[in-house]
């Protein structure tokens, strides 16, 4: 699979400087984390690894991720003052720096909290503002923000993958990439379907009714 597909990944994004990987890419990681969480969080813990850990402050990587969590675009002029915006919106922020070694230099973990829900999203910024999500709630994965992805949390029992893919097939949606991971046999597993087109709400609703499916989220492209 090619790293870059659209010309607008090369001529773009239009963004607040100074770094496409450390600023614009960071906005996107924040946006995807917010999408996975599905609502406004009350608290965010952002952990930086690798090159991000060394240089996040000078590149505004922290404000960029906060801006993304607050659904701002890469070219939103409020990015430099995102701490202030977060305070106004009642979003508590904690920044952590980790010296843990990582496979890709620009890695960040975003943890979002609310009343009871929690998600953790690990993203890498691969250059030119393009990002990949490599872990969600402890499950390894491989999603880019470019294609729509449906995350299905389900109990690791026989036939669940078939039930979901049959439903998708029934609605004539093409799956471009499918991955499944689990922590332990029989426990909660995560299935990620990347699709060529958006999956309509009623299909997601139908999916939620399948036995042993605990949560369905569509991450928008």
């Amino acid at each position: 699979m090619s790293k870059y597909r659209s010309i607008f990944e090369i001529i773009g994004p239009v963004m607040v400087g100074p770094s496409s990987s450390h600023t614009a890419g960071a906005v996107r990681i924040g946006q995807i984390a917010r999408n996975v969480y599905g609502k406004n969080p009350a608290k965010a813990i952002i952990t930086f690894y690798g090159s991000f850990a060394h240089t996040y402050s000078g590149h505004g990587t922290d404000v960029a991720i906060i801006a993304g969590i607050m659904k701002m675009e890469t070219f939103d002029p409020r990015i430099p003052t995102a701490y202030l915006e977060a305070e106004k919106a009642g979003l508590a922020i904690e920044i952590k720096v980790s010296s843990e070694s990582v496979n890709f230099p620009n890695t960040a973990k975003v943890e979002l909290f609310g009343d009871k829900d929690y998600v953790s999203v690990v993203g890498i910024s691969i250059g030119g503002g393009i990002v990949q999500i490599i872990n969600i709630n402890g499950f390894d994965c491989h999603i880019t923000g470019e294609n729509p992805a449906v995350l299905v949390f389900h109990k690791d029992v026989k036939g669940r993958i078939a039930a979901v893919t049959n439903l998708i097939a029934k609605h004539e949606i093409n799956v471009s990439h499918l991955e499944v991971s689990r922590h332990q046999k029989g426990e909660i597993a995560l299935m990620i379907l990347q699709t060529d087109e958006h999956v309509a709400k009623h299909i997601l609703k139908e999916m939620r009714k399948i036995k042993d499916i605990t949560r369905v989220i569509q991450v928008k492209a």
Partner: protein
């Protein structure tokens, strides 16, 4: 998707198309959007580029205080003095500096292909469009041509400083813009690809060693050299000069060099210019700010 430059030239030759047409067709095929939608989106990117040039020429200052004001300085100089390198090239250099000073000041730019190298294409395009009588559509086509060349480089090597050092950022920006410049000057697709090879070769091995880890020193001036190198490569290619090493092999060499380069020279701000006594002092001052 076009995999490499050999394939790009082949398609241009067989289907008798310019590079921008191949780029447009690919974008249409992959994303099923309309031609109008693509041009509208490109227009949005071009406007952002123009605004960043204008803002930079007025004079901006970065948050660290390390950079700013040089684009304005050069514009004032060019109005008074006779330029050494000629008006068009000098203006392109000037505009590239402007964009990257705005970038360092957390202003709005269009990453092309990255933010650190965002000045090269807008610098060249805004300086040549009048002289070459490029109407709005032709300017957007210029960006399409550069875009597909950047895609090929990015997919076969890298456009990331952390991965491939500055050769992957300024090198790629300079090479893809050189291809578009050749096309704007009515050169053939083959000449465009030669320009990519020449421009890329000339910046191979360029380290990414930003002072204090910021996209300021030497990034802003590297955009200026990316512009000069772009003109040099395009001019040679238009004269019929060929790269003795084929373009795809140059791209591969760039990729390998990036892999071989030590981490200290790939955006970590641990080596090179970032590790000079003056740079270390600057870093300390910023940290104590």
């Amino acid at each position: 998707m076009i995999k490499n430059f050999t394939e790009l030239i082949e398609i241009c030759r067989i289907e008798k198309l310019s590079i921008y047409q191949v780029a447009l067709n690919q974008e249409l095929r992959l994303f099923e959007s309309s031609e109008q939608a693509i041009y509208e989106k490109m227009e949005f990117q071009l406007k952002a580029m123009e605004n960043s040039v204008a803002r930079g020429l007025e004079g901006v200052q970065s948050h660290s205080g390390l950079t700013g004001g040089d684009a304005k300085r050069m514009a004032v100089y060019l109005q008074k003095e006779k330029s050494l390198m000629g008006k068009m090239l000098a203006e392109a250099v000037n505009n590239a500096i402007a964009v990257n000073e705005v970038n360092a000041a957390m202003g709005i730019i269009c990453a092309t292909p990255t933010a650190g190298s965002a000045g090269v294409l807008p610098g060249v395009l805004t300086a040549i469009r009048q002289e070459f009588n490029l109407d709005r559509k032709a300017q957007l086509n210029f960006m399409l041509t550069a875009g597909i060349c950047g895609l090929i480089i990015g997919n076969n090597a890298s456009i990331s400083g952390a991965e491939g050092a500055c050769q992957a950022e300024i090198g790629s920006a300079s090479a893809m813009t050189a291809a578009a410049l050749v096309e704007a000057a009515s050169g053939s697709p083959e000449m465009s690809v030669e320009a990519v090879a020449i421009a890329l070769k000339n910046l191979l091995g360029l380290s990414c060693d930003p002072v204090a880890g910021l996209v300021e020193i030497p990034c802003i001036k590297r955009n200026a050299i990316g512009v000069s190198n772009c003109f040099t490569a395009a001019e040679m290619a238009l004269a019929g000069i060929k790269s003795r090493i084929p373009c795809d092999e140059v791209v591969h060499a760039m990729c390998r060099i990036g892999e071989m380069m030590p981490e200290a020279l790939k955006e970590t701000a641990l080596g090179g210019l970032a590790d000079t006594p003056t740079a270390r002092n600057m870093r300390r001052k910023i940290q104590n700010k």
